[in-house]
């Protein structure tokens, strides 16, 4: 068996990796997986560039492309994850007693967002689209895991937050959903459109030095994605095992739309490009970059 | 003349670990007398002073001050370990003036008092120096001056002249006597120099090896002021001889 070192975080977005391991899919493809848990995405990115891992179970598109701007080819995607109002990931939530029904109601409220320019920009863009100007609300950045705390304690009225925090809050009655598919709407103009924001990735060295192994890894990954779509219950099982998801919400947590490269249409790729262009426009990716070369070809 | 005791020690017991330094020890220190303590190394002289001054706790027994509590009493103290008792963060001058701070004395008067003392003692030290810049003898001199700057109730002098030079020792003995005659302060001095001990004393407290007991407590009935002639005084020499006899007997035990 060929050894592949895979870095993974603990989120639901790394699901194909968990399923691949749990269902013996990698094994079937004669791959011996060594999993390394790395929870911070930027550390995952460093490890990939430094060749300490061959693959990342999931890599944010913005960070992957930011790396490709500086060192082209260092992050190669083998699948993409889309999010939208159906495949919920980022969303606005508000405390039930805050009197917020839609985004415009956040006028005069205190909001908290997941940290980073990307989250900040999307949140501001969405609020602006809803007719709120800067100064109409306060928006603090705070680690996503803390959102439930500050909403529970009443220090903030609403949050632009991520899964599984959002579901956890809703499940506990701390907050209710106000709007999902925010990125899709802001960037693509339609909350139901597919916003490709992350995906499985492999390193340049893995791709060029052991192309056949990389190919098999990609095939196994594809098969895992198929399994997720075909057997959601198996996927949920893996989710419960690998991510700290409270058992009571493990069946509720929304999943992103895991997409094999072979299933990507030209429209999808264009959406992906649009998202990256948006990232360039807000400055989270330094220079305009064409995404196509970084969708791995074997 | 009977004087009421200034310090009364009753049933004093003090141990360091296994070792008993004082065991049911009793002593009266008369007010306004100059008492020399004479005894072998390690018999407990420094310990006794520390106990009386309340610096280390007694194991049992009582130390009473005629009508006063220990907190009301101001002590003057020249520590045997004079070097460690000076404040290295202050100049010698400020060290000497230190006890005056607690007496509501203005800075100006404090300086005047130090000045006066310096003149009296004919000190040839740069008092702007810090203690660690001074020689051993100079440090000891500063320590003595610090003890004398106030008029304490009781004065403890633990081998105060051990590091002073020949000339300075003689002059300090006489200064000490003068201070005593002027103020009548109850004074305790430890000295290993028998001449010195007897020369200065109204009484000589002779201690035995630990556990220390009072072997004898003879009076020195030689008139004051004493001077170089005293050393030839027959009474002086009788007492000195007597102390020496007792000391040697006790030490060789």
């Amino acid at each position: 068996a060929d050894k592949v070192v895979v870095g993974y975080s603990v989120g639901a977005t790394a699901l194909p990796y968990y399923v691949g391991v749990e269902q013996g899919i990698f094994e079937k493809h004669d791959l011996e997986i060594e999993g390394v848990k790395i929870v911070v995405n930027s550390n995952l990115q460093s490890a990939l560039i430094a060749n300490q891992i061959d693959a990342a179970a999931v890599m944010l598109a913005v960070e992957g492309m930011a790396a490709n701007v500086i060192k082209p080819g260092s992050v190669n995607y083998i699948s993409l994850n889309a999010q939208s109002s159906d495949y919920r990931m980022e969303q606005f939530v508000a405390r039930p007693d805050a009197g917020v029904k839609e985004l415009a109601d956040f006028k005069g409220k205190k909001l908290v967002t997941s940290p980073g320019i990307g989250n900040m920009s999307v949140a501001v863009a969405a609020l602006t689209a809803a007719g709120l100007n800067e100064g109409d609300y306060t928006l603090d950045q705070l680690d996503t895991a803390q959102h439930i705390n500050v909403l529970t304690s009443g220090q903030h009225d609403g949050a632009f937050t991520l899964e599984p925090a959002a579901t956890l809050m809703m499940h506990n009655g701390v907050a209710g959903l106000i709007k999902a598919g925010v990125v899709a709407e802001v960037v693509l103009g339609d909350p139901k459109a597919d916003a490709y924001m992350a995906g499985g990735a492999i390193s340049q060295a893995f791709l060029t030095e052991r192309p056949d192994v990389a190919k098999r890894y990609k095939e196994a990954f594809d098969e895992a994605i198929d399994t997720i779509h075909a057997h959601p219950e198996l996927a949920r099982e893996a989710l419960a095992k690998y991510t700290p998801t409270p058992p009571e919400i493990v069946n509720e947590v929304p999943l992103v739309k895991f997409t094999k490269l072979s299933d990507l249409t030209d429209v999808d790729i264009e959406s992906f490009q649009k998202y990256i262009d948006f990232a360039v426009s807000i400055g989270t990716v330094a220079e305009p970059i064409d995404v196509k070369p970084f969708l791995a070809k074997f | 003349m009977y004087r009421r005791p200034h310090v009364t020690v009753r049933g004093l017991t003090k141990r360091f670990g296994e070792r008993t330094i004082y065991d049911n020890f009793n002593l009266d220190l008369p007010r306004g007398e100059f008492i020399s303590i004479f005894g072998p190394n390690g018999c407990g002289k420094s310990t006794l002073m520390n106990l009386i001054a309340g610096l280390i706790p007694v194991d049992s027994g009582q130390i009473l001050f005629d009508g006063q509590t220990i907190d009301e009493i101001s002590f003057g103290y020249v520590f045997q370990n004079y070097r460690d008792a000076l404040f290295p963060w202050m100049s010698a001058w400020d060290n000497i003036a230190y006890p005056l701070r607690f007496q509501k004395v203005s800075k100006k008067e404090r300086d005047a008092r130090v000045e006066e003392l310096v003149c009296k003692f004919d000190v040839r030290i740069n008092l702007k120096d810090y203690p660690y810049q001074m020689s051993g003898g100079q440090q000891q001199l500063v320590s003595i001056m610090r003890a004398l700057i106030v008029k304490p109730e009781i004065l403890f002098l633990d081998e105060p002249f051990s590091a002073l030079d020949y000339e300075m020792t003689l002059s300090m003995r006489d200064q000490m006597q003068k201070v005593f005659m002027e103020t009548g302060t109850t004074t305790l001095i430890v000295s290993h120099d028998l001449d010195e001990a007897v020369y200065l004393a109204d009484r000589v407290l002779l201690l035995s090896r630990a556990p220390a007991t009072v072997v004898d407590f003879p009076k020195v009935e030689v008139q004051r002021p004493r001077d170089a002639m005293t050393l030839a005084d027959p009474e002086f020499n009788r007492i000195k001889g007597h102390c020496l006899d007792i000391f040697q007997r006790e030490v060789r035990k």
Binding site: G7, S9, V10, V36, K37, I38, V39, V40, S42, N43, S46, A47, A50, Q52, I53, A145, I148, N149, T152, S153, G154, P164, L168, N172, T243, P244, T245, P246 | -
Partner: protein, 253 residues
């Protein structure tokens, strides 16, 4: 006798004081009890995690193991380097920048660098803990050596002690400070280990537990893990304190 035994229980005052304040904060509804569970609930969670169904005991053991390895490594490097650097102020001044620089850069900022050099394994966490701790130990030991009195080192030299024996004197002289460095370093190692377990990703350890329980919004369990981290820190400090007390019997004399 009985009193002596009671004295040993003195640290419990702090424990109960902390618990009392905690309980009061919860009862006074100063913060939402969902966010800060009462001590009772936390203890139940800790008990369950340690002796019941949970993995807390295992995680605790792992953190202890890795932290101790980090501390041992840090002490083995930090003490000798600190003594050597401290022995020559010139040498210390030359490298001080590097030491202060890395002491002042937050661990979370240099984590990526460690990943680059040492890879993504468990090893790296030990190195991170050891690195941070050794800087603290070097800093404290070196200043202990620099601030120590020179007399005894000079005495050793004049008696013909070779260089390494003089270093030993220097080390012993600076022992109280070195122990403070050890305790500072050990505490830091523990903090770094838990932080690394939280941020670098780990499959076990107290840091993982804190991280996961936070994700699960399982506050009693999270605070149980934090509580254990604090207790572990106290235990490590206590062991060093007891070690110091038997070993550095002369401190402050």
């Amino acid at each position: 006798m009985k009193l002596k035994k009671l004295q040993k229980l003195r640290p419990l005052i702090g424990v109960f004081g902390l618990l009392a304040i905690w309980q009061l904060v919860v009862m006074g509804e100063i913060v939402d009890p969902v966010l800060l569970p009462p001590p009772g609930k936390t203890f139940v969670a800790a008990w369950d995690g340690l002796f019941g169904s949970g993995k807390l005991a295992f995680d605790f053991g792992k953190t202890v193991e890795r932290s101790l390895m980090g501390i041992a490594l840090a002490a083995a490097i930090g003490i000798p380097v600190g003594v050597v650097l401290g022995a020559s102020e010139k040498v210390y001044r030359s490298v001080e920048f590097v030491i202060d620089f890395f002491r002042s850069t937050p661990a979370s900022a240099v984590f990526p660098l460690f990943l680059l050099f040492f890879g993504v394994g468990d090893q790296t966490k030990i190195y991170i803990a050891a690195f941070g701790a050794s800087l603290a130990i070097i800093f404290n030991t070196a200043y202990g050596v620099m601030n120590a009195r020179k007399t005894r080192v000079l005495a050793a030299r004049v008696m013909g002690a070779p260089a390494w024996q003089r270093m030993l004197v220097v080390l012993l002289e600076s022992m109280p400070q070195t122990f403070i460095g050890l305790r500072t370093g050990a505490t830091l190692a523990l903090v770094l280990m838990i932080t690394a377990e939280m941020l670098l990703g780990s499959v076990d350890g107290l840091g993982l537990r804190v991280f996961e329980e936070q994700q699960l919004f399982n506050m009693p369990a999270m605070y149980a893990a934090i509580l254990l981290a604090g207790v572990l820190g106290y235990a490590i400090n206590l062991s060093f304190f007891l070690l110091e007390r038997t070993f550095v019997h002369w401190a402050g004399r």
